[in-house]
Amino acid sequence: MVEQVTYYQALNRALDEAMAVDDTVFTLGEDVGLYGGSYRVTEGLYARYGAWRVRDTPISEGSFTGLGVGAALIGMRPVVEIMTVNFALLALDAIINMAAKIPFMSGGQFPMPLVVRMPGGVAKQLAAQHSQRLEHTLMNVAGIRIAVPSTPQDAYWQLQQAIRSNEPIVLLEHELLYFSKAELDTVQPAIPMHRAVVRRSGSDITLISYSRTAILAQQAAQQLAEQGIDAEVIDLRSLRPIDWQTCIDSVNKTHHVLIIEEDSVYAGAGAEIAAQLAERCFYILDAPVARHGGLDMPTPYNGQLEALSIPTLDSIAQAASKVLEGEAE
């Protein structure tokens, strides 16, 4: 069945369906229960499944994420909601030292069917402590997988796949995407969790992005089309692992690459993508791989400065034109 739903509703649907068929699935986090979730992802679930399966927690990110690890060790499928990635910094011990390591350190004895969901990114003037992104930190951690859905359909698929997986998976959502609406088809079989998708096909340049900037990249591609530039847009959907083949196939057509990320480009997600593509595509590239992203500074509260600190439609289109003119940033 195909419906128009918001991103948060798609996540809600995925979680609800998983909880309905599998008693070992439970969710926990701050205000996920009675309140229905800060971004309404768990709306209605408390009434349906009760306090043990939809657990309101104290503000104890380190320990309740660790609780998820413990429960996962003996067969539960916890879906930990961290209110935003900024608070996940307090849970990194559980994610990096525990979830990512225990299956390996135990010589492969334990499953780790843990899902940790959290939104991040620049929203609207939430200031430096509330506008961060965590992909760069987590991408470097062997033992976890990272999904970055940009559409309701992907949010639905990837959360369901994450819950079914026996590996620890971090779902990075974006604060500005929760209320965006698009089609959700709950019948069509899901594509593999970490496969990248070509959102727009084109022949001049490949725009590679993920999460909210993937949406911006598609809009920028339309703008570029008016200038006679035919851009191909790849939504990575995942940052660990990354589907290189889809990227390489595209570069084979376009010979130009611009990577777009909201995070600071300095040691950001794009650094890994650029390095890999430079290695893998050197002889098919007509210009150096370029990156366009946020400024290398904490996010300012001031609205005008905040807007200037991250990529916009215009800045993406400009950066793409520059790559083609051979004068990358």
């Binding site: 104890s60 990110e61 609207k124 200031a127 430096a128 509330h130 001031n302 609205g303």
Partner: protein, 350 residues
């Protein structure tokens, strides 16, 4: 009670209420954005505590800190301008509502990650103790914040090394939508301090006089070198958690019950009850008139006209702050870079 002190505290409470209600309006008008956590209902805590502190004591607060900053002496203009994200804001428009800082006034910041105020406070306390200074640190935090590991870690170190820190819990019974009995196994926050042998008391946080007195006593003991103290201020926020939260998870009767205990009305009543009306005066026998007026001079704290005058004063302070914030310039990107690199002036990096 010292008349001047009382007037100062009442004025600050009125200013707090007026400022916050206006901030909510400015938010709706689009002049303030992001998260805006307001303080109505809790005024007696910041006002009573900070009035009992010395100017040389440090204050560390949370994201709900506009009032703490103003009571400490940060000009309402600089606070409002910061909420507007303007250059004349106390953090130059870089921090916003949740991150007010004023080094000169020892206002050591608003922190928006729950549980950060404790380690900052014990760090300040450590530096003070190391240098054997007579200063103290006041560390604010909410009831929801006591379940963060840093609370326990910091209380332990503060007690272990006898650091001059006053921990002040603003217990408004809620961690956003989660009521205290649903987030804490022990809902009397002050009881937790006994695990670290830190003297602790519960205080009626709706009564500014009690808050002031209890804070004064605690600070006195801290200055004697006996180590940290903890006060749990029982209070209530009248509004939602932030302006985007309707607060609909709270029973109407509960909100109404606490509104009856509005700390500002309570302070006004307390003051006025000591000021006899004409009827009471005439009921006093002739012999007693002299005695009584002497007593009055000591006791009369405030009358109705004085309250009206104070209200007018604070309203014009708030109006002026808004005008100022509106006219203040936007910071530019260079100023943002300067803020980031403020500490590398003379260093050769590469």
């Amino acid at each position: 009670m010292d008349r001047q002190l009382f007037h100062g505290m009442l004025k600050d409470m009125l200013l707090a209420r007026s400022f916050e209600e206006r901030a909510a309006q400015e938010y709706s008008a689009g002049n303030i954005a992001g998260f805006l956590h307001l303080y109505p209902g809790e005024e007696a805590v910041a006002v009573g505590v900070i009035h009992a502190a010395d100017q040389s004591d440090y204050i560390v607060s949370t994201y709900r800190e506009h009032v703490h900053a103003m009571v400490r002496g940060v000009p309402p203009r600089a606070v409002m301008a910061e909420l507007f994200g303007k250059l004349d804001g106390c953090s130059k428009g870089m921090g916003g509502s949740m991150h007010l800082f004023d080094r000169e006034r020892r206002f050591m910041g608003g922190y928006a990650i729950v549980g950060e105020t404790y380690p900052v406070a014990i760090g300040l306390g450590y530096a003070i103790a190391m240098q054997r200074l007579p200063e103290a640190v006041i560390c604010f935090f909410g009831d929801g914040a006591v379940n963060q590991g840093t609370f326990h870690e910091s209380l332990n170190m503060a007690a272990l090394w006898k650091l001059p820190v006053l921990f002040v819990c603003e217990n408004n019974h809620y961690q956003i939508g989660t009521e205290i009995h649903r987030h804490s196994a022990v809902s009397d926050v002050y009881q937790r301090a006994c695990g670290y042998d830190i003297p602790a008391h519960k205080v009626n946080g709706m009564d500014v006089l009690e808050v002031h007195a209890k804070t004064g006593e605690a600070l006195q003991r801290i200055r004697e070198g006996t180590g940290p103290q903890l006060l749990e201020m029982e209070t209530y926020r009248f509004r939602g958690h932030s302006v985007s939260d309707p607060g609909s998870y709270r029973p109407r009767v509960e909100v109404d019950a606490f509104r009856q205990r509005d700390p500002i009305k309570q302070a006004e009543r307390e003051a006025q009850s000591l000021y006899p009306d004409a009827q009471q005066l005439s009921a006093v026998g002739a012999d007693h008139i002299q005695l009584f007026s002497a007593h009055l001079q000591q006791q009369d704290l405030i009358n109705e006209q004085e309250i009206v005058k104070l209200q007018q004063q604070v309203d014009s302070i708030v109006e002026d702050a808004v005008q100022f914030a509106q006219q203040s310039p936007q910071p530019d990107m260079q100023q943002a870079w300067d803020a980031l690199n403020c500490n590398r002036a003379d260093e050769v990096l590469i």
